[in-house]
Symmetry: D2
Subunit: 373 residues, 4 copies
């Protein structure tokens, strides 16, 4: 089988999720192009070495330029903090490597566009890791919508609430710094629901939003407190190009909510809702049901007929969060093998970033703002 050598830059949450995905894709999906974990790249040498050993990388480095530059590497997988997305992607494009980048694509729209330009100009394949698209239930939802089971879509609601930002003593990491992250909850979590809105409903035309920072100081690694200069909650209203309406909210400080991404889509013939805390269930309401037995069906998306399911376990044996990355990697490898660009691509990354940009603009202008082209 053909192989492709992968360099994974980043060894924390996302680095682990990606490294795992390559291994599992190979074991459970037999992709036409076999990924080889070639180089792990992190900032701390000891941690990087351990990470490389655990996941079976052939080697490791603490210099991302070395990872990108290694002539054997065919795919650069970017799991670094946001401020490194662009430099690494640009270098990878220049080196002619395929690029798989974590979300948000960049710290802001112009940086995102620069990245898209770079990969386009270089003609290298590019994918953004909007992993939530790859939950079997989301795929089923997408299929139902495409088949017209919802009729005309009118309303989209998404609440994405977490509370990790309230963990006592949580230090001022890069995720709380505008310089490094670009924004806070907006780019970190709202970007997921923006992408899912685009995936399920279509393009967002205009928005009006508000950003808030409830926890304004956090401990500095070296002692003392530092200022948080990004949002920890974000909410916005939206009108889609189709005329549908959207309500979006995200938070890092919504006590009691862990990974509560509640999505709901209401159409003229049917409705759907789903929650990432219970990701194996899709709820579907259909006007086609007889009137006396209409109700949201709680569909356990683990049957052979369901997306991805038969590659895993028998009916009813649930999947978890990490499986989405495996499915994303399967798409990536299938696309690379077929000579097409994977989906979602940097184009999707840019479009999502444009929505975030409009939200930021509206926060400043206190008006509705068009989503930039």
């Amino acid at each position: 089988m053909r192989e492709i050598k992968v360099a994974v830059v980043g060894t924390k949450f996302m680095g682990r999720a990606h490294a795992n995905a390559y291994r599992q894709a190979r074991a459970f999906f037999s992709p036409p192009l076999a990924p080889v974990l070639h180089l792990a790249c992190g900032t701390n040498e000891k941690e990087t070495r351990e990470f490389a050993e655990k996941f079976g990388f052939s080697g490791y480095t603490t210099d991302w330029r070395e990872a990108v530059g290694d002539p054997q590497v065919g795919l650069v997988d970017i799991c670094s903090p946001n401020d490194l997305h662009a430099p690494i992607a640009l270098a990878a494009a220049k080196a002619g490597k395929a690029v798989f980048c974590e979300k948000p694509l960049a710290r802001d729209l112009s940086e995102a566009k620069e990245m898209l330009r770079a990969v386009s100009d270089a003609g290298v394949p590019h994918m953004i890791c909007f992993n939530y698209r790859f939950f079997p239930a989301i795929r089923l939802a997408k299929g139902l919508i495409e088949d017209g089971a919802l009729g005309e879509i009118r309303q989209f609601h998404a609440l994405y609430l977490q509370d990790w930002g309230l963990a006592p003593g949580l230090p001022l990491t890069w995720r709380f710094q505008k310089e490094r992250a670009g924004s806070g909850a907006l780019g970190d979590t709202a970007v997921h629901i923006v992408d899912l809105a685009r995936f399920l409903v279509g393009e967002v035309a205009e928005v009006t939003g508000m950003l808030t920072t409830f926890v304004r100081e956090r401990p500095l690694p070296g002692g003392g407190m530092g200022k948080v200069d990004v949002d920890d909650t974000a909410a916005f209203l939206a009108r889609f190009s189709s005329g549908a309406t959207g309500v979006f909210e995200t938070s890092r400080v919504a006590l009691g909510r862990k990974n509560f991404m509640h999505l709901e889509v209401n159409g003229s013939r049917g409705s759907l809702f789903w929650n990432a805390e219970d990701p194996n269930w899709l709820w579907f309401y259909s006007l086609d049901d007889p009137a006396s037995v209409r109700g949201f069906r709680r569909i356990m998306v683990t049957e052979e007929v369901h997306p991805y399911a038969k590659n895993w376990w028998p009916t009813g044996h649930v999947l978890g969060y990490e499986h989405t990355f495996v499915h994303a990697v399967v798409e990536l490898l299938s696309a690379l093998s077929a000579g097409r660009n994977p989906v979602p691509s940097f184009v999707d990354g840019v479009r999502a970033q444009a929505v975030l940009e409009a939200v930021l603009l509206s926060e400043g202008s206190r008006r509705w703002e068009r989503v930039p082209a």
Copy 2:
């Protein structure tokens, strides 16, 4: 409109539920025979008088014989402790009055049969208050089963769990005394799920069960502790005449469960489940749904097309527990007006009691026992 004068014997939980039901039936259902709250009857004069005033009874008494004997009374409604069911019903039958009796019909099967004989011999209408049959969701379930939506029914499960028996300081009331109650959780709560099993699935042929008493002593009203001589949990396996299997369990001491009556019916074409703690929802699974969107539908049984619903409030405005009694009274009054016997009748009371009797027998014999004819 024709009227019927009602004597309600009992002024506590059930007396209040019944008194309320007559009033609400008249306001919300326009029954063909209008109930008039004529006499309230309780043991404590002050409480009885207040009860009569609150619910608008014309008068009250503390002597049930007087209530039964009042020539104006056309309907005797028995909400007294279990040991008075038979004496009152027998007297009412003898006096030619219609009888509406709380469950369980009697303390044991022979007493129940005596009551059935009395009303049958006297030719008076008789009804037992298995109020759970009158939840809209249960009616919808019944209709689905009758329409064949479940195919051949194979399995029935019922867990009916409460925890009021753990309330600190709860005294040794009649419900904990075999002499007055007949049995404990078995006759008090299991009888409901036995009736629902008969209603939805059919006759029970044989059972094997176990009774347990976890809280063995309770405070006596006069001080000191008295012995509980009835069960506070009961469980039994059953085979229905149809070949279906049944699992039944009830408890008064299942900490955290308040009125948790979970019913589930599995058939060859569909399944249903329902819980009395969320009584407005019926869950229905159908093989007729397309394979990829099969799932239990959570049907909110509050639409105009649903049983009883349009007499109350618009869609989505939920009903509570007490409404079941209103619906039962509507059936009672409709039957009396039409000159037919209401359903469920003392026959159903006797059949349920026969199942309880078999459970008690099996507890002693430690074997499966046939349900007596």
Copy 3:
């Protein structure tokens, strides 16, 4: 016991809910002032007479001026379409009667203020029927917030979704006409969540919103189609005076949702959520719990220790929608008896209307708008 004679104007959904409430309040709560159903008032004589008979009114009329003018009437209860709220309230105030008015208080803010001025100037007691405040679970929530169990409140979310607006053939009733209703979903359903936001979190300082009408034509009673000139969905972002953020959305056309009012309040020490489709349950998360067993507790608000519960049924025997009106009436009667003004009053009606007004303004200006004083 002292009595007060009530005239109920309106015989449909709300007229029935209120008429029922007076009767049930008397039976279950023994209020210090006993309501007497004196006059029912509707537009159709036959329907009004039947309504009066069913609920036991002493008489009826089809002229609201007669109802207000009847010297025996002490309390005027307004359940008419919105455009009659002001005329009836003004007349009742002038006649020195206590006034109980359905929501929204008026068609717009100036009308609402006129009503408040009228009752204030006349010195008559006034109450608005924000019945959702009277769910036991909402009262428990209020108590927890007041006791500091949530710490500093930061985020409030409310989704109030219904789908009755999609019923096939639903005619162009007053609810779809701006002239009569003032607004659509905004005044009809959003007003409830605005009131609950004020009740639980405090005053709203500013908002930005969007209104949409998806179903733009409906059948006219006389044939043909008529134009809907009110919104059927409304959504807005809010900042509370306290600094908390709010997200509000309501819809009449969210297919599959029946009376889905999901409220969530996130604070620095605890969080709460609740849904009107499952109103007996309050979910509460507390940082005071040990870390390994933290989770939202699903509290069945039917225990003796809970608000209103012990006047109804034993633990676990659920209440429904209509009970909120009973509790509201108990407050009304208790206040009248005690010589204080009931809560919520027309002041609350005006404050809620001011928020709606700001939403409407922002829809036009496409900017954030301050809630008018």
Copy 4:
């Protein structure tokens, strides 16, 4: 790091789950003894080779004797049909290899005891794969019980319902043949809830049960229909040695239920429930909570403080079914490394089998039966 070479016998559902577990244990848990996937063993050569390649085994064979006899193999992992458990385990014990065996341990109690005797006599480590013990929520439940959070345990309920037995055209595989499987749903699925009952509550003293076969014929691989001679549903009542009561039910033909393992434990101070279809949530009710806010807490068992959680993903990012096998393998490797026998061991396999044996006895005798020593 020290390594142990593993032979996995079986390449289907369980073979895949185990092979995956060794790999993931190494990547996510750094066990003190590193498993090496040495030999895969299946009956079909092509499938076995592909399986070996996908999971990275060094080699493969179609002869289990070869796998057991390979001098490099230190651990034999038995994922074969039930009738091969004993022969392979006996051979492995004789060869001095550690043994990890799927459940049920054997086809019947005497076979299970023979296996236990073999590994004991040989002095080799032995473990049975009761993987459900290794859900984080079950571990948390176990900890709460051990800490006394439930007080005295009184009631245990377990419903384990699936419907795969209704899949159209499902052939007469070994799972439907007594000769190969020993029993049907009893040994396949009831054995899991028996083990969890023992794990959480303690030893079962006596039982009375019923077995039923609803689907009596299935297609033969070569055409025509063959007789099913095992149960597809099983239910039994139990008394634990402690005095607690138990109700157990399992089914392969409960339409609509996929992997519905509902467990509930009620004690004198607290209660717990859990469902394998939503495995990341544990529900816990405690009398220690203030009376007005008592309710089952829905604990998302994904926090750093929870069992196994910090080795995986941040809070709220859910685990799936397969992770239980990883945790089981971590226990296995840790025990082997520490020179102690893993838990659960063949002793637990035998004790669970003894309960099944008593159920089968009671099915024949129609009486309660003691669980054999």
